[in-house]
């Protein structure tokens, strides 16, 4: 007689019931166990104020916590987020009436009302570098009723919608009580799908699902559409060493790692757990010239530099593998609405003879050209070495100043301290948001022609005419050479294969992402 046969008929149902209970309990425990992912970031973010702080890392984190009235879809078109619909624009483009979604909760238990939105936008206009761009055109922001706000402008401001949608220096909506100071926030209360529960500097920042989250409707598309917090907890872990971020992905300690060096991509070839993600478009390096003080105020000298530089060599030195860059002079990449290669005739000349002739024409007498660069951004440092070589071959006297990033950021504010510096710009969907368009940004591109073209561009609301306006601005960028756009570069990130439904975008986000099938 076998084992089953030896059991009494009363014992069998009891055994079955016991087995069922054990399995059920196990499954219940498995279901109850919260899901969490570790996201390796480039460092400690510091104050998590999405309004005053423009670092990409802060934007990446805070977009899960704070939301804006609008956001961008995959085609970089503005779509409603906290607003119920796109704004009603009247009075010749000078009055924006925005209806808000109902029943949106703040993470402190309150409900979003028009007064909170008006106060948040007023703080944004005062405290955000992006908001300050809009502020001169804004007459007033008022709560018309409990669910409607009005933005009254002094003159039409075409980029306003994009400015309201950007999550960097963001027009983030928060309770009115938090908007009374323009200092960086110390308390973080937004409407997003995740809320901050714990921050241990240099160790981790914990975000957990906000259960009362009210999602916008619609199919997910880029940053727009429905947002579901499918993972219980997101942990942003500062890992400053890039090699450690890669190793952590290979060992499956992290489920996502951002900003990895391009030369490390082959390490993911034969791994079971992680796969590389290349984000296009991502950013463009810039060599910015000082147009306020010193020899580079002479436009012919800047044109000489433009003629001398060899962008392909610079990009190769910086990124190695052509899969991670494009030799592209248009500020906007191919496939985006503002792409315009025809206007950038001065790009990729690498003509030392022409540069030498221009130097002679400019009356250049060998004054040292101080170029600031920083090894903290290895790719900027490498391309600055090539630029130094290119410029010296043409006859420039180059003083390459290798500084740490904090020093560079400080020195670039002093117009007497430099002639050029290297930086990079993350892709932004609206040209007005490019830093060099701001005449007070270091470099100080403030010619009457540019300001007139920019003003025309900013007040034009017809999309087709705006594209023509941008071409005019980019042609001025090409002839006045306020900066040299070196090319396009792409961001290498890595993701654990168990994470699904991930959408690569310049600022990675983790709502709608699933852990496992």
């Amino acid at each position: 007689m076998g084992f089953v046969g030896s059991l009494s008929t009363r014992a069998l149902p009891a055994l079955a019931l016991g087995t069922f209970l054990i399995v059920a309990a196990h499954e219940a425990r498995a279901q109850a166990k919260p899901t969490a992912i570790d996201i390796a970031t480039i460092g400690e973010p510091g104050p998590l104020d999405p309004v005053t702080v423009t670092s990409d890392l802060v934007s990446i984190i805070t977009q899960h916590v704070f939301e804006t009235l609008y956001t961008f879809d995959s085609q970089w078109k503005a779509q409603p987020l906290l607003a119920a619909a796109l704004p009603e624009i009247t009075d010749g483009g000078k009055l924006y009436t925005i209806t808000l979604r109902q029943g949106v909760h703040f993470q402190d238990g309150g409900t979003m009302a028009a007064v909170d939105v008006a106060a948040s936008l007023q703080r944004w206009l005062k405290a955000s570098p992006r908001g300050k761009l809009a502020a001169p055109s804004v007459d007033q922001v008022t709560a018309k009723d409990a669910s409607t706000i009005e933005i009254k402008l002094k003159q039409p401001l075409a980029p306003l919608l994009a400015l309201l949608a950007l999550n960097n220096g963001a027009a983030a909506i928060m309770p009115k009580a938090l908007t009374e100071t323009t200092d960086p926030l110390k308390t973080y209360v937004g409407t997003g799908p995740y809320k901050i529960v714990e921050q241990k500097p240099d160790q981790y920042l914990r975000l957990v699902r906000f259960e009362q989250y009210s999602s916008p409707p619609g199919k997910p598309d880029g940053y727009a559409g429905e947002r579901k917090a499918l993972i219980d907890e997101l942990r942003f872990v500062p890992v400053p060493n890039a090699t450690t971020r890669v190793d952590g992905m290979l060992a499956a300690q992290y489920q996502f790692a951002d900003s990895l060096p391009a030369e490390m991509a082959p390490r993911f070839k034969n791994t079971q757990d992680a796969q590389p993600v290349v984000v296009k478009p991502f950013g463009f390096p810039l060599m910015i010239f000082n147009q306020k003080t010193g020899p580079m105020t002479n436009v012919v000298l800047r044109q000489a530099a433009q003629a001398a530089l060899a962008p392909e060599e610079m990009l190769l030195a910086a990124f190695g593998d052509p899969a991670f860059f494009a030799v592209e002079g248009s500020i906007y990449a191919k496939g985006t609405p503002f792409y315009d290669a025809a206007s950038v005739k001065g790009y990729n000349q690498h003509d030392a003879k022409k540069a030498a002739a221009l130097l002679k024409q400019a009356g250049y007498k060998g004054e040292p050209i101080r170029i600031m660069t920083s090894p903290q951004y290895d790719f900027l440092y490498k391309m600055s070495l090539v630029a130094q070589q290119n410029l010296q071959e043409a006859g420039f006297t180059v003083d390459l100043q290798v500084l740490d990033w904090a020093t560079l950021l400080q020195k670039r504010g002093d117009d007497k301290a430099w002639e050029a510096f290297f930086t990079y710009h993350t892709f932004v969907p609206e040209p007005t948001l490019i830093t060099i368009m701001n005449p007070s940004y270091p470099g100080w591109w403030n010619t009457p022609e540019k300001q007139a073209a920019l003003s025309e561009f900013n007040t034009e609301t017809d999309p087709a005419k705006r594209i023509e306006g941008w071409k005019k601005l980019q042609a001025l960028f090409d002839t006045q050479v306020p900066a040299y756009k070196v090319g396009e570069f792409y961001n290498l990130a890595a993701i654990n294969k168990k994470l699904t439904n991930y959408t690569p975008m310049p600022w990675p986000f983790f709502w709608n992402v699933k852990l496992g099938g």
Binding site: A36, G43, E44, G46, P47, T52, V53, T54, S55, D56, V58, P129, R130, K132, N168, G169, T182, D183, P184, K186, E198, K200, P201, D202, Q203, Y204, R206, R235, V237, P238, V239, P240, N241, T243, T244, D247, G248, L250, A251, Q253, Q376, L403, D404, W405, A406, T407, L408, L409, Q410, K411, G413, T423, T435, N438, S440, Y441, P442
Partner: protein, 313 residues
């Protein structure tokens, strides 16, 4: 002894004041400021100037120094500009990690360095001695960050025995924290063990040639008793000095190791604060580390008396 300790503490106060002044001046003399770093690359000089004003960084240096001294007098190291918390709290959160890491690294250094150094001295000229010398020369030449990255590659990524980086998940217990510290402690302790091998060997060789060792051997004492009872104890004084200095070096070395292993310790705090120009953290952390350095030296001096009864203060 009490008078000696009191004198040393009085001297320590003067040293700390000098350190406070030097660190304050160095932090302000180096270019770069926290406001620019905090606001990010898109900020204009006007934005940066406004935040500098809010943070009080536009006040005169003497005024800022006076405020700083006032804070120190009330045992307050100020608030971190970047971390949104008091410097003492930020340091307190990291003290346990750095203490554990230093102790583990010292344990590895001493655990390898002293026995191998003794063996090398006792077996002078043998294959063991030559091998120990060669290996210690090699280990002393290896930078701890390279050792760290190599350990990560082979023991964490390929073997999967240890975590790559970090200090454990939220709610991790002591055992998990210690597991995260094994590789960093090896990376930190290994190069220092080489130093200890060299010092222990030299010190032991000096002592083994002393007359009283010859006498002990002539009396018929066993080799073990001669080495451990007579030679080792006397050879320990210079070795203790080196161990004391090693602890201080480990705190400095931890800056690199903690960065490679993504550990939220005091070293990481200091290096991040320098990169961000977080003045209160730079000043506070260096002041505390300098204080520890002075205290370790004092402890080593007091240990001399315990090891060698001839030494009296």
């Amino acid at each position: 002894m009490t008078a000696y300790i009191a004198r040393r503490f009085a001297g320590m106060v003067v040293v700390m004041l000098l350190v406070a002044m030097i660190v304050f001046v160095i932090a302000r003399v180096i270019p770069g400021d926290p406001a620019g770093v905090m606001l990010g690359s898109a900020a204009t000089p006007d934005d940066v100037a406004a935040l500098r004003h809010q943070l009080g960084l536009d006040r005169s240096l003497p005024t800022q120094f006076a405020i700083y001294l006032e804070q120190i007098a009330s045992l307050d190291l100020g608030n971190s500009i970047f971390l949104n918390r008091p410097v003492l709290q930020a340091m307190g959160e990291r003290a346990m990690l750095t203490t554990l890491l230093t102790l583990m690294a010292v344990g590895i250094s001493v655990g390898i360095g002293v026995p191998v150094g003794i063996l090398s001295a006792v077996k002078r000229g043998s294959v063991v001695d030559q091998a120990a010398t060669a290996v210690s020369m090699l280990a002393a030449s290896l930078p701890s960050f390279w050792v760290g990255l190599t350990l990560i590659e082979y023991l964490a990524v390929h073997a999967g025995w240890f975590p790559v980086a970090g200090y454990g998940d939220p709610g991790a217990g002591l055992a998990d924290h210690l597991r995260h510290l094994v590789l960093p402690a090896i990376a930190l302790g290994l190069p220092n063990s080489a130093l200890l091998i060299r010092f222990t060997r030299t010190s032991m060789l000096d002592v083994l040639h002393e007359d009283y060792i010859r006498t002990a051997r002539a009396k018929g004492l066993g080799a073990r008793a001669v080495v451990f009872k007579h030679a080792f104890r006397n050879a320990m004084i210079p070795v203790l000095t080196v161990i004391g200095l090693t602890i201080a070096t480990l705190i400095g070395g931890a800056i690199v190791t903690e960065t490679v292993f993504g550990l939220p310790g005091i070293g990481n705090l200091i290096v991040s604060a320098v990169l961000r120009r977080d003045y209160p953290v730079i000043q506070g952390a260096l002041l505390v580390v300098s204080g520890l350095y002075v205290l370790i030296n004092l402890s080593v001096d007091l240990l001399y008396a315990a090891v060698d009864p001839r030494i009296r203060y």
